[in-house]
């Protein structure tokens, strides 16, 4: 058994070494760096809790970016879950050409982010974009999506649905995993389609929903690329997401100590939310038998 363990560790050693060097050590180092003034090149200077004090009391953009990110998590995650589950339910139907539909809805989630952003920049152009052209057909003059408040933020929320295919596939796998006998029993008992969905499908799907909500929340708090490419945090910092501001602090202003403190606050927030979700999950997540 011991021999087996050694073999196991040897097999995973490339990953372990990588994890130790590129994750664990920087993770530990950032605890120290968060209490220093550090610009990568010069040695860090110990400032104690000063970075945290500045963040909480002197930096309005910190609060603004935290607010933007929280708002995004509160809107985009439930919306993504709702749309993802809805799509999975639809794509679970046994209709002709269902494989094509599944592929079509999944494809956007594998399109590179930069390409997606480029396409959406065009789609959301207020004057010549597809979105406003369609709205004009029904007599509505659409807003300047990416350059006005609060539309820039909601444009990014809207855009997040583009890649909902990724979670949709997981929901679909969850749906396939629900024992058919439950539906058979329900049909025998006279349950209609709505009752079967509400009382069998959704409860049996909650472990998958729980997983996707946790992953979605973590991703929402790390939201960066789309805002970096499309809005650069503007207009008026309305899309200044936490990770984007952290990036600017570290690589644009060379304020690595401050950025490390920001990263630790983010870590604590994400951990707290995850723990809270885990604490509540017994009340709403059903693991079948």
């Amino acid at each position: 058994m011991k021999h087996e363990s050694i073999k196991g560790y040897l097999f995973i050693s490339p990953w372990l070494i990588g994890f130790l060097i590129f994750v664990l050590i920087p993770f530990a180092a950032s605890i120290y760096l968060a209490c220093t003034e550090y610009d990568i090149v010069s040695p860090p200077v110990w400032v104690g809790s000063e970075n945290y004090r500045r963040l909480f009391f002197d930096d309005p953009l910190f609060w603004k970016s935290l607010g933007v990110t929280l708002k995004y998590a509160l809107i985009a995650v439930p919306l993504g879950t709702f749309v993802g589950v809805g799509l999975a339910l639809l794509l679970n139907l046994n209709v002709r050409g269902i494989r094509f539909y599944r592929t079509a809805f999944y494809l956007p989630s594998i399109v590179p982010m930069v390409a997606t952003c480029a396409v959406f920049s065009w789609v959301l152009n207020p004057q010549i974009g597809l979105m406003n052209s369609m709205l004009r057909l029904i007599g509505i003059e659409g807003p300047a999506w990416l350059s006005s408040e609060p539309w820039a933020f909601y444009s990014l929320v809207l855009m997040s649905l583009w890649s909902v295919g990724g979670s949709m596939v997981i929901y679909l796998a969850g749906l396939k995993n629900i024992p058919i006998s439950l539906y058979e029993a329900a049909v025998v008992d006279g349950a209609n389609a709505w009752q079967r969905t509400v009382h069998i499908t959704l409860p049996m799907l909650t472990p998958v929903i729980f997983f996707n909500v946790i992953m979605g929340t973590i991703n929402a708090f790390q939201y960066f690329a789309q805002a970096f490419i499309m809005t650069q945090g503007g207009p008026e910092d309305s899309t200044s997401f936490y990770a984007l501001y952290l990036f600017k602090r570290s690589w644009r202003y060379l304020d690595m100590g401050y950025a490390s403190a920001m990263a630790w606050i983010l870590f604590v927030i994400v951990m707290t939310i995850t723990v809270l979700l885990f604490l509540t999950h017994k009340k709403w997540v059903h693991y079948g038998g």
């Binding site: 990568i40 010069s42 200077v45 500045r54 350059s147 503007g234 008026e236």
Partner: protein, 469 residues
């Protein structure tokens, strides 16, 4: 069936072996480094230029490599959005390039962090003195931080007004006798007489040149004052006092400039402007909104002269400095930036880097350097290049370029203040501009916010220095 499976296994195994062999061959074979002159000392040079500009830069490198037999410059184009982080990591890791062409506002920040060498550490005293005595004042200001100079400007970027002469004529803003097209310096000089003398007149012209569609949307933008950092010096303001080294943010002049910009934007309507600007997707070359007629008067840099020559050679246009307001303004004022060469601490070949910089910036041979400058439509850091025969001929053929040459020499042109948090300050000034222009704050509030934010940063830095002591 079993036979077929066996056959498949053999094919898969053979294919895997071929792949493994190819991988191992790639592993063991020496990667060709593509050096043309392997016996020379290498000079690793990073830059951020791409497409057409990359070719120009590589042409300069090739020309340098041909010009001597000691060094070989090896250029590498780095994507602009990761260039700074790559440079920082390479320098911190002890393996930086020998020099890098930058255009982000990083000099004071990099200098304070001891990331880059001051010029006097790799130039001879005579050469450094030559730089101090001859380089344009603005070239020296861009390189300056706390009493020393940290970069060599390769090319300076100066902004002025571009006027569409056909639009002006159509609106009756030019007399019939005015030249229809600028093809020589005499015509340029004559046309200068008709250009607006004041900001107020320019804005009035702009209003006359606006075009709206049937729904009231902007179809063509005449002119609207924008860019607080550009307009503030014209109103007698600016952001730095070079005599006492202090920031000047919330001043009456700056307030007046920001109020003026805000007021004029409000008249046309911010939402209307926003929608119009969003539709102007072309930024480079042939699709530049000015070239396609979407703008009649616009503020832009000298590089457009060579672009217009290439993409719209028949376009009737004129360039002139942005005029100051009628009262309390400064002539030939504005914001300047540029491309500059930095030599990182840890450069393995700073002398090779300097030889290359000297070649590019024409320290020894301004006539030869002028060939590159005129090819790219760049503004040189040394008057010797601007006065060279090659450059003079270029300006004769491109009379609109003269505006920018003249502005280079103006004492009222200013870069972003040389403070160690220059990029943060730049972002804060832009934020104040945006808040006021969008109407989310009054100009006064925006400037007060700016000043307070900067003072917080200054206090923090002062405290950090005291704590360190």
């Amino acid at each position: 069936m079993a036979e077929r499976r066996k056959y498949l296994k053999i094919i898969t195994a053979s294919f895997s072996l071929i792949l493994l062999f190819a991988f191992l061959m790639g592993w063991f074979l020496k990667t060709p480094d593509g050096r043309k002159y392997p016996d020379r000392e290498p000079v690793y040079f990073w830059h951020m230029w791409t497409s057409g500009w990359k070719k120009v830069v590589e042409g300069i490198c090739d020309d340098f490599n041909r010009s001597q037999d000691e060094y070989e410059v090896i250029p590498l184009s780095i994507p602009a959005n990761v260039a700074d982080s790559k440079f920082l990591l390479a320098t911190a890791g002890g393996d930086p390039p020998d020099c890098m062409a930058q255009w982000n506002q990083v000099i004071p920040q990099f200098a304070e962090s001891r990331l880059i060498l001051p010029l006097d550490e790799f130039m001879s005293p005579r050469e450094y003195q030559f730089f101090l005595d001859h380089a344009f004042p603005i070239a020296q200001k861009i390189a300056y931080f706390e009493g020393r100079h940290y970069c060599m400007p390769l090319a300076l970027d100066v902004r002025a007004c571009y006027y569409r002469l056909d639009h002006l004529r159509e609106e009756g803003l030019l007399p019939d006798s005015a030249p229809a097209q600028i093809s020589n310096r005499a015509e340029y000089q004559e046309m200068l007489k008709y250009m607006p003398r004041s900001m107020e007149q320019l804005v009035t012209w702009g209003w006359q040149l606006h075009r709206f569609d049937e729904k009231g949307r902007l179809a063509r933008l005449g002119f609207i004052p924008q860019w607080f950092r550009m307009i503030a010096p014209l109103f007698g303001g600016g952001f730095y006092n070079w005599e006492n080294g202090e920031l000047t943010l919330n001043t009456p002049e700056n307030l007046r400039a920001l109020e003026y910009i805000t007021e004029k934007n409000k008249v046309i309507g911010f939402d209307r402007l926003l929608r119009f600007r969003s539709s102007l997707t072309g930024k480079h070359g042939a699709d530049w909104p000015f070239a396609v007629g979407k703008r009649s008067i616009t503020i832009d840099g000298q590089w457009r002269v060579s672009q217009l020559e290439k993409y719209a050679p028949d376009l009737p246009y004129m360039t002139a400095p942005l005029p100051p307001p009628r009262e309390g303004g400064k002539e030939e004022a504005g914001w300047v930036h540029g491309n500059f060469m930095i030599v990182p601490v840890g450069s393995k070949n700073p002398q090779g880097a300097w030889a290359f910089i000297k070649f590019w910036t024409g320290f020894d041979d301004p006539e030869h350097a002028a060939v590159h400058y005129t090819k790219a439509g760049w503004l040189p850091p040394l008057p010797q290049i601007a006065q060279s025969g090659v450059f003079t001929r270029y300006v004769e053929n491109h009379p609109q370029f003269e505006t920018f040459i003249n502005l280079l020499d103006s004492p009222n042109m200013e870069p972003t203040p040389p403070v160690p948090f220059q990029l943060l300050l730049y972002d804060m000034i832009k934020r104040a501009d945006e808040s006021a222009t969008r109407g989310n704050m009054t100009p006064r509030q925006a400037l007060e916010n700016l000043e307070e934010g900067v003072n917080n940063e200054l206090r923090r830095r002062k405290k950090a220095v005291q704590d360190e002591k």
